[in-house]
């Protein structure tokens, strides 16, 4: 689904990513982990066209996507839920959803407004509210729901449960699990290893812009030393 090779990304003169290989297969759930500031968000943004890597290549759905504009990458079937959510504060809940609606890259239309509202019933009580009037949890449901309106094949979630009440976070995790079981590939950036170890097929750990671990979560669970060293947990 997505294969990135040898990505080097710079911000001015500071070298942020040092030659990272990263991949997600169709239907695979990959957890992207590491402490703050190791380059997780930069890696995602480099793969999705928001940041230009200096060298390296990205292929998405079999096509070269290295220099593609973010909107073209989205149209290849990739939905991105950025850190900090990105709800449009000046649009109502229903407008946030409707403006994003599109069939997937292969014309699939499994996700409709009705289905998104069924998945997040709280949103249907807030349809006419503006984005800025929502609580943090509602905003997160809205961004996730809005991403689904594009009928993605690959969902990229950056800190989707950050700062949410445990009950709301659980609801988000539940939805991610349903998506995984339905065969949607997912890249998840999150600090909750306990949940990810059950959810993810594979874990990737970054340290200072380099990949230091790439394997099944069971391997990490068995080696608390690695976890402590790389993640501090």
């Amino acid at each position: 689904m997505l294969v990135a090779r040898d990505l080097h990304t710079f911000f001015d003169s500071s070298h942020v990513l040092h030659g990272i290989d990263f991949s997600v297969a169709e239907g695979e759930t990959v957890a992207l982990m590491g402490r703050n500031g190791v380059g997780k968000t930069t890696l995602i943004r480099s793969m999705l066209g928001h940041v230009q890597p200096r060298t390296g290549s990205v292929r998405i759905a079999g096509r070269d996507a290295t220099r593609l504009a973010p909107y073209r990458i989205a149209r290849l079937g990739v939905a991105y839920v950025p850190e900090g959510r990105g709800v449009f504060p000046n649009l109502s809940v229903i407008e946030n959803l409707v403006m994003a609606a599109r069939p997937g890259d292969d014309r699939r239309t499994g996700w409709t407004l009705e289905r998104v509202l069924e998945t997040f019933p709280r949103l249907s009580e807030r349809l006419q509210h503006r984005g800025m009037q929502l609580s943090g949890g509602e905003q997160q449901m809205l961004t996730l729901g809005r991403a689904l309106m594009t009928n993605p094949k690959l969902l990229v979630l950056d800190e989707a449960t950050e700062g949410l009440a445990p009950l709301i976070a659980q609801e988000i995790w539940h939805t991610i699990r349903v998506l995984r079981d339905a065969g949607t590939a997912t890249i998840i950036v999150d600090k909750n290893f306990a949940v990810l170890s059950h959810l993810a097929h594979r874990c990737v750990i970054l340290v200072k812009g380099r990949k230091v671990f790439d394997g099944p979560p069971a391997e990490l669970s068995m080696q608390p030393g690695l976890r402590r060293q790389y993640l501090g947990i």
Binding site: A74, R75, N90, E95, M99, A100
Partner: protein, 285 residues
């Protein structure tokens, strides 16, 4: 009855200004570009009305032709020049768009000359509505008001009720997120700019029969439209509409009641509004 005429004139002038100011405020609110050349589009519209009406023999054929040309001009300008300004400082925007004013005025001078022209009111609307025995009101001015109202409603509908409008508003608040949803923001920006140009050109075209067509007419309108954008609140269409009507009334009645103060009346209004609402009537501080 004389009052009624002044009121109708105020409304007509205000609504006409709104067509120009709405583009200015949208381009500033959505793309963050200060477009000094916006008044030139009004001037271009008036000269287009004059040239195309002579060429085709009727303002009715000139109008749609002019709109198409204006939209195309807007697209070309946005893609070649204006789109380079989005990430830049206001200084660059002011320099480039001021340069455009000079280019447009020079082109006008070369192509049509520096003479003052008039455009005939189309025969269909060349009539007057009798109000009293010796007072009447020209039908064409009512026509201008009606067309402006229809366009204002159309604009409101497009921006508030259609998916395109939602994308435009989304792009104004977070361009990157809009792109991440698969929407080509560059195309949206080009569309908004071209629509703004088309509106200003159209305003110049329908105004040509009642004002006259003269060099530098764009600059007058530009300054008054900036006053409107500031009073209404930058980026707010509703604000621009209310401010346009306010300016229409203040300017028209200022000339009647206090002719010696007419030149400063609109600026006085702006100062008073800003005193109480520094971000304008509907601006977000």
């Amino acid at each position: 009855m004389e009052w009624l005429i002044q009121i109708l004139n105020s409304v007509q002038y205000g609504l006409l200004l709104f067509l120009v100011a709405s583009g200015l405020t949208l381009i500033f609110g959505i793309m963050g570009v200060i477009n000094l050349a916006h008044g030139s589009f009004y001037m271009i519209g008036a000269y287009l009305a004059f040239s195309l009406a002579e060429l085709t023999g009727s303002l009715w054929t000139a109008l749609p032709l002019g709109i198409v040309l204006a939209f195309a001009l807007g697209l070309v300008l946005e893609i070649l020049l204006i789109s380079r300004l989005y990430r830049r400082d206001h200084l660059y925007q002011v320099l480039l768009t001021f340069g455009l004013i000079l280019v447009f005025e020079e082109m006008r001078s070369i192509l049509v000359g520096d003479d003052v022209h008039g455009v005939a009111i189309p025969a269909l609307l060349d009539a007057s509505l009798p109000l009293t025995e010796n007072l009447s009101y020209p039908v064409y001015r009512l026509f201008i008001s009606a067309v402006c109202l229809v366009l204002a409603a159309l604009m409101y509908f497009t921006i508030q009720k259609t998916r395109l409008g939602m994308m435009v508003r989304a792009g104004a608040s977070n361009a990157e997120m809009t792109q991440a949803l698969g929407i080509n923001i560059r195309w949206i920006h080009a569309l908004v700019f071209a629509a703004g140009v088309a509106l200003a050109v159209f305003a110049g075209m329908i105004a040509a029969p009642v004002s006259s067509v003269f060099p530098g007419m764009g600059n007058q309108v530009l300054i008054i439209c900036f006053v409107i954008v500031v009073i209404g609140g930058i980026g707010s269409l509703k604000g621009a509409l209310i401010a346009s009507l306010l300016i229409g009334f203040v300017d028209t009645f200022g000339k009647v009641l206090l002719p010696e103060l007419a030149g400063v009346a609109v600026y006085l209004l702006m100062a008073i509004v800003l005193l109480f609402r520094p971000a304008g009537l509907y601006g977000r501080p």
